[in-house]
Subunit: 276 residues, 2 copies
Amino acid sequence: MKIFIVGLGLIGASYAECLRELGHDVYGHDTDATTMRKATGNGIIKGGTINMMSTCDVVVLALYPEANIKFVKNNLDRFKAGQLLTDVSGVKRTMVAAIESLLPKTVDYVSHHPMAGSENPGFDARDRTLFRGANAIVITTPNTRNDPVDRLKKLLETIGFSTIKEATPERHDAFIALTSQLPHALAMALMKGSDVETLDFAGNSFKDLTRIASINAPMWSELFLSNKEYLIEELHKMSEELLLIAQYLKTDDATALTRYMEASKEKRDVYGNHQD
Amino acid sequence: MKIFIVGLGLIGASYAECLRELGHDVYGHDTDATTMRKATGNGIIKGGTINMMSTCDVVVLALYPEANIKFVKNNLDRFKAGQLLTDVSGVKRTMVAAIESLLPKTVDYVSHHPMAGSENPGFDARDRTLFRGANAIVITTPNTRNDPVDRLKKLLETIGFSTIKEATPERHDAFIALTSQLPHALAMALMKGSDVETLDFAGNSFKDLTRIASINAPMWSELFLSNKEYLIEELHKMSEELLLIAQYLKTDDATALTRYMEASKEKRDVYGNHQD
């Protein structure tokens, strides 16, 4: 297949390298000239003028959400009927709705979220094994047709994803607020109260917990803000839970505290067993 | 050396097995008859009547904090002059002060905290490699003499601890509230908002983050309550940080949010370099 990747950062470049290894003809574009030189020099992409996009079977948008929308708007005449268009953005509602409203119905747009990443951004951090065994969420809306969903899923399987689930943009964004954005917020908040000595002498769990605090600020700031309704809700819920635990401590309520811990253990252990 | 271990749970039994392998004569006691049968049957301890304690060079208290105090109170006549007495409890202020006030000055009591553990409690979860490369904190108070501190440190080094630091009970407990108890509270609070499906489909970071939510409720409930002043402070600070991030989101303050993220990354990366 001929595949065009827009944006050769961590995810775009990792996709490009994977897909090339799988025997596809991979083209791509990045606004950074150095990245383009490296990508063509390494043979990771065959070439990179945006004009080529309309000759490709699949187009992957791998920019930040706002930039994806802008790119679609500026290149509407370069998409072609029957082409599979997807993106790898971490937040979906606003972006998917905007792109759907821009595109002609003849272009098959199916968004997805590869749930893998690294603290290191950019082309040089690319890793063709990044998606092996990872999860992906494929986004369905009332406009989504089955056939392009199947095409996308097959492509993702060949890249190495082991579990691929479908979700609406709303369900995806609520899920991501809890399982990805909130943990990043917690790690950042933990770092605010810590210093090198703290980390130096903390147990491994604290180091593991704060590893994601080494965050790509421009990207995550946009992701947080574009999912703010759900994330604000999660931040408030978490804040209330912590104050509830503090309240148990203040009132020396060993019974309530133990019950809270037992419920937590029970829930986590169900998953432990479930995983086996 | 003749070493006596009081309490053959996860830590006590792991110490016993380690120390036996190092060639020491290990004795021990547990109130659970099945545990005692297993421990003597496996040859992990040579015997286990509390009377033997007074013939030993080193005594390790490996019960929960309150039980350690009670044990010392009930067995005051079984400690002997020049004996090194230590404990492995996770919270120190109240317990260390209580034990110091009970003991005659001739017994060398130096508390410590082995910073290693497992989600699985009890004798059967013992692991003689648990302490390899781990950190330990040795507790010093105005009553602590240098010689027994050195003896304890040497013993801990032979068990496999790689970094051993000294701290007052206050500094230890403040540090533990931030780096161990708060992360456990966060994991528990995260589980409250999750279900099996959440975990099933979450990225690895969420699974890692919540692993410690599978908590030994009776032990951690006691540890939380006996460190409540510091832990309440950490819970409030964390709660405020989360509400601050929520406030940035509500007001669409991309600048403040990005600055917060950059500060977090900078701090964590300093440690990253420091670690290399």
